[in-house]
Symmetry: C2
Subunit: 180 residues, 2 copies
Amino acid sequence: MKFCNLCGSDLAQRVPAGDNRPRHQCTECNEIHYQNPKMVVGTLVSDDQGRVLLCRRAIEPRHGYWTLPAGYMENGETTLQGALRETWEEAEANVSTPALYQIFNVPRINQVYFIYRATLDGAFGCGEESLECQLFHQHEIPWDELAFSTVYHCLKRWFQHPNDHQVQERTIDYPARASS
Amino acid sequence: MKFCNLCGSDLAQRVPAGDNRPRHQCTECNEIHYQNPKMVVGTLVSDDQGRVLLCRRAIEPRHGYWTLPAGYMENGETTLQGALRETWEEAEANVSTPALYQIFNVPRINQVYFIYRATLDGAFGCGEESLECQLFHQHEIPWDELAFSTVYHCLKRWFQHPNDHQVQERTIDYPARASS
Ligand SMILES: [Zn+2]
Ligand SMILES: [Zn+2]
């Protein structure tokens, strides 16, 4: 971040009055440009055989690796609306009975994950950001080819504690990869 | 948002390739500048008499109105760390046994609230962003002088359902004021 997105002037790193940490502040209009964590919203979708829906990523980062349907929350939507939107965009899947299941904090990359559990409702397809989408039994999960450690932890919890439907918070430390 | 914060060139509203909604995209370097919801993190702090800690705002918006200690989550911290930081900054209060209590979606203003319940640990003071901080019994709560509807709903739930400690999600529609 080098230029003010309001007036185009140079930014400087300053601690604004009343603040206690350096911010990007415009040297002309004095606007402070804050940077804040982003929310990632998604779903853990299961079918009536206990299989879980995964998508193989057609985009970077982690192209070719398997993930839960999830993505950045957009302005103007709720966390649940965002999770259902991503599920449709990535897997062309409709779901029923969604309920908040897992929250991940990943402070190293300034992300907070919101994963809803939900039941697959009918068929599914394959969205533009996915190479393929597939239902997996526990023993079929491609554990070594998961895109992110959040996906790993979510699936592990799901299969190891199938009756635990509480909302759980967990902090993921570096590195945010599947093997951690 | 009119200028690219990377190169200072003009931004245009465009639907980028592979996307389905207009974004601010740089006309020179092609960088896409996304806008995403922000997280507000805070606490509902109670003492051993069942009183709740509120802060009267020394800043806009809603200067002079009462609020829970809460503010924007910062990069590099977890939701809980942010909530505890805000509690210190606004009320100079340390707390123990924090647990996630209430999530609010406020899509009209692109905010997601994370409120932790916690127990007051020792004394408290008054931070720079507060005019005063005070413990309130239920019958003392200044219901007509609360800053935001999220504060109202959180306090109402707390006093009406004192044994309900589940994580609850709620969407707040317009207007996001105390009276709604
Ligand atoms: Zn400026
Ligand atoms: Zn640019």
